[in-house]
Symmetry: C2
Subunit: 107 residues, 2 copies
């Protein structure tokens, strides 16, 4: 299992807009081959931002890479760019990819 | 759902030992109230370390906090300290707690 994670430093006064953007989108992630699960997570609050993180689990890194080359990916990111006319975040999201080494529970 | 995440900067020549420590432990996490799932994840390689991350999902932050006060927690961390006679990581793990804002799939 492969986890594609993005970390977003969201401006405090844009946190509600940031959540509304995610909750309001019409995601077709679940229609992509190898998709397992998506979570948007709200993390710790810092002086000038709140950390949010998006976690998408795929059956394999290859499934994730195939999605990044798909129409589904292009459309999702076009929409995000339109929504970001006024910045909601400090800089760009930080991407990190992870391979599962061990899993306990839920299997 | 609450995610308790730790990020570990693991020395490159200790990565095999670090994985073996996790894979070899006899975890009783699944016996704790509110436990949902645990994953050990291997992330990107940097110049002087490899990023690993442990993700434990709990039904609520309260369940996580109760576990941190339990014998189960104390025993797990005693064992980790014993195993860490020679350091495997750069500094201490970085803890971050997250609340789930949205979930798609697997529900």
């Amino acid at each position: 299992m492969y986890l594609a994670m993005n970390r977003f430093q969201v401006l405090k006064d844009r946190a509600a807009d940031f959540e509304a953007m995610w909750l309001g989108r019409d995601s077709d992630l679940p229609n992509n081959a190898g998709f397992v699960e998506f979570r948007l997570l709200k993390g710790p609050e810092h002086e000038d931002h709140i950390l949010y993180s998006s976690h998408t689990f795929w059956e394999s890194e290859d499934d994730f890479r195939a999605w990044t080359k798909s129409d589904s990916f292009r459309k999702a990111h076009q929409r995000a760019n339109t929504n970001n006319a006024a910045p909601m975040t400090l800089g760009h999201p930080q991407f990190e990819g992870f391979e599962t080494i061990q899993q306990l529970g839920n299997d």
